[in-house]
Symmetry: C2
Subunit: 199 residues, 2 copies
DNA sequence: GCTTTCACCATGCGATCGCATTGAACGCGC
DNA sequence: GCGCGTTCAATGCGATCGCATGGTGAAAGC
């Protein structure tokens, strides 16, 4: 075999450029040529690693998902062993809020992709699956917290849906600048208090 | 003056076509030609009523906002005079959830516009203003409900932000099919119960 | 009746799009 | 050292884009 090249690394490099373009010029500015220019490579090379634009988009969407997943995992790991359920759920969902520059840009891209994926079921499948897993995770935590004496309320899976929706909504408000980040966090913490008790 | 034509009606006709295209083929399929074809007019006419594509987009966005506003007003009016505060807030926010075909399509368009308006401050200004008004409306209702004995909680304006965010998030989940509409409604009603008491 | 004014259409320009094609450069197995 | 397959750059095709242009037809004003 000739020239050994790390395919995945190259694809990720290109996907990064795509996200940079999408974050500060909008998804409609994402074209093979623009992405190639942003990545500092030829457009021929982009085509070499992604046969179609859709393939490139889908891959980039996957990268965003993977980044978020990794950040969540890191956040949970940084919590240590004997952390409270509230702290775990808090750590998980806080990673979904666009509170710093990185996550803000990522949120912008995610929003653009959300609109892009609407009506492309094959593209939306993976994120939907991730969301379902997350809901189940949160629901499970609520169940065990309730068993340990946390105040009751709606059905756990329903409460999880509500909490996820609240976080999504807060993220949206931050991205569209309808709400300062710290207000969003405080709203989020209030809801956490109601579910798991104040700490 | 020659031929009298209702400018606003023509523009609305075109905006309607734009929304139909955006709803079922995505915002990136919105072009002067496609919109014109969908509206059954020549592309020259579209250009006659909108000097630039951006002007057309902005107008269409305004139409969506106006539709939502009108629907809210109708919903509130249908409530009659002596309706409870809970019923008023419920009527307002229920109009924001994409519960039927019409509102679902509208939600899709709104989502696409949200991504479009990101990074176009002049486009995003009007929706931001509307959102602020709505938050103030809800906050005010919460204040008067509290004065009349409703259970306390977070600061009214903060509670309003939370409720708005929840509705936004639920809308998102419905649009991306992460959550069936009736579950979203039930989640929403639970939150209403917590704020204003069950009825 | 002639001009003016507005509504509308047809055409096309320059740019950009996604993508296919072609071929050169390069490192490996033989 | 020679063929071979991978990597990547160059080029161009056909389609489509936003938009400018110039023209036509019809109603209103004098």
């Amino acid at each position: 075999m000739p020239k050994k090249v790390d395919h995945h690394a190259r694809r990720t490099l290109i996907a990064d450029a795509l996200m940079r373009v999408a974050a500060d010029r909008g998804l409609e500015a994402v074209s093979l040529r623009h992405v190639a220019a942003e990545a500092g490579v030829s457009s021929g090379m982009v085509q070499h690693y992604f046969r179609t634009k859709d393939e490139m988009m889908t891959f980039a969407l996957g990268v965003v998902g993977e980044r978020i997943r990794a950040r969540i995992e890191r956040g949970l790991a940084a919590l240590g062993e004997a952390s409270s359920i509230r702290a775990q759920v808090r750590a998980l969902l806080l990673q979904l809020l666009p509170l710093d520059k990185t996550r803000w840009a990522e949120g912008r891209v995610a929003l653009a992709f959300l609109a892009y994926a609407a009506g492309r079921p094959s593209v939306a499948a993976k994120p939907a699956e991730d969301a379902a897993l997350m809901r189940e995770f949160v629901a499970e935590r609520i169940r065990t917290a309730r068993a340990a004496g946390a105040p009751g309320g709606a059905e756990p899976s329903q409460a999880a849906t509500a909490l996820l929706a609240l976080v999504d909504g807060l993220g949206l408000q931050i991205l569209s600048e309808h709400c300062p980040p710290d207000l969003a966090v405080s709203v989020f913490e209030d809801r956490l208090d109601a579910l798991f008790g104040r700490e």
